[in-house]
Symmetry: C2
Subunit: 344 residues, 2 copies
Amino acid sequence: MISIKDLAKHLNISIGTVSRALNDRPDVNKDTRLKVLQAANELGYVANQSGRSLRQGTTNTIGFFIESGGENGSSNDTFSMEVLDGLQSVFSKYHLDLIVLPCSTEEDAEDYLKRIVARRLVDGLILTATQRIDSKIEFLSKTNIPFVALGRSETDNKHPWIDLDFEGVAQLSIDRLAKKGHKRIAIAISQNNLNLGTIFLNSYKDSLIKNNLDFDSDLVLHASSNGEGGYVIADQLLKLKNRPTAILLVHELMAQGLYRRLSEENLLAGRDLAVIGFRNSEQAKMFSPSLTSFRLSLRDLGISLAETLLSTMPAFQRHYPNKRLGYIWPMELVEGESDRFLIN
Amino acid sequence: MISIKDLAKHLNISIGTVSRALNDRPDVNKDTRLKVLQAANELGYVANQSGRSLRQGTTNTIGFFIESGGENGSSNDTFSMEVLDGLQSVFSKYHLDLIVLPCSTEEDAEDYLKRIVARRLVDGLILTATQRIDSKIEFLSKTNIPFVALGRSETDNKHPWIDLDFEGVAQLSIDRLAKKGHKRIAIAISQNNLNLGTIFLNSYKDSLIKNNLDFDSDLVLHASSNGEGGYVIADQLLKLKNRPTAILLVHELMAQGLYRRLSEENLLAGRDLAVIGFRNSEQAKMFSPSLTSFRLSLRDLGISLAETLLSTMPAFQRHYPNKRLGYIWPMELVEGESDRFLIN
DNA sequence: ATGAAAGCGCTAACAT
DNA sequence: ATGTTAGCGCTTTCAT
């Protein structure tokens, strides 16, 4: 592999000049710059990142933290891809590379982050899998590495975050169902430690009150955020002596298992039970009946995450002067068939 | 952030000894080593990766290449997570970190890889999104960076690869459907450039011949590998004057849209049309009717990918002496309800 | 068993 | 505008 020394020798100029030319410094002759860039291109020279990082103390790399090993029911799969693309569309403007840092199930997330930070692998981090009490946030706040969290947390150290509008979704859903005459509305929330469950549940309660509906703890169902979880929830729901007429899901994947369990009893969403899912994924439309759920642009979310992060990084914040610290990402109702019917 | 110099000063010994102690060199006093490790732990010292990389010419990092921006219909989402976990379970034994390298839709994959390789970001690569003719493979073969491809390619430069058993799936499926009396069996393949489509289609043809069934090009349907694609395919299928009685899907996500379109005509998979999906994801069981498809352990696949890669890396190949270059990953039929019925 | 020092590739400060 | 050189943090060779 070719180094800057080789390139300089090849051109018969000093490595200093080569470096300056490649880094677009102003104090370099136009012709020289051209020659250098051309030679670099021809010989396929790209700066060794370790050399640069060591010298500059910066890696030009942003890390996107996730937890691998989808067994735990999050499986936010398709989600990430589009978000990643949005992130990259911003970072690429500043020649920042995005890498995904998957923390294995076998490793403690905080230990993992400690290693990443200490090794100086990235200049900034995007955090996911935010928990209600989150040691990752606590740790990162102590270091001075810039980061932005996807998801609110009660562990709030004045760090920037963006979260989905769980309140809005819960409220709009309950309002809508109440208007259709539903009195007993269940809610399916995830059983893991993520913060969103709590937020969603609280908004659900508030919205019930607003609509003069009674809260019944029997109607709060817990399961994992996937198809299986939906099946379990439908099963619990069917066993209730006083069944709800509607249900609100914290994760759209749950709909699959829910529909399945209903069909086993010859019941149908949108006829026997009103169902509202959470995120309007590409799949929502393909359910039968199609799932009423909430749309958001994941790519735009990625863009906003990137901009928020950059606004906290000294080298870039001039580009993004007035970013908010916390931001609730709006979601828009997409009417489906799954909550079509009215209660007399 | 603390450096090895600080640590050495703190302990009143030379940085050479500290380095040796931390790297488990034999020629260091037991007590010294203990003291160093303890101090490192206390002060939270972790070696700066750039410094190490620069000196050693190695990064102790493996890259997992993917293409971000799921619009293109691959959306292999949940897939990756489990594979990643398998990979990490192997790499962690050797203190190798795994990072995911998402190539944005806006960037050419080969250019992206060139940058990654030239910057010396990783010691080895796992390639995905393998194409029939794949410039990524061609490029990587020219460099001397170790890599393993997930997916076969006609661009074969004696590089290691692992691929799913498309032949086996096609053959078992056709045999099974033929045995149930089906004479007209359609196949839904992906419209992108990935190699798997070709392989799947060829095996399908071969298996038809083996079962004395006629090949009809009308029964080869193309669409994107997602719910939407399944909808489109069902639509095409319904328009055929001479409809097939069974269909084989190259991607299980297609089943969603297919079921949907069928339901719009009051048709049902497993009663009016036999459907066999590809991978038995967690979702398959949650379809109604449940989807006959093929199981594989993604975690084990990840483990095998990792081992294959290591077997080509000089520093590790002694641990994995006799790995094959190419390997077809077996898949096991899981009977569902979607192909239940018999043709008289 | 330990210390001293070279040098990996790069950028930036200083010199010219 | 260009050349020269120190030094980022680390490992490893050569002394001792």
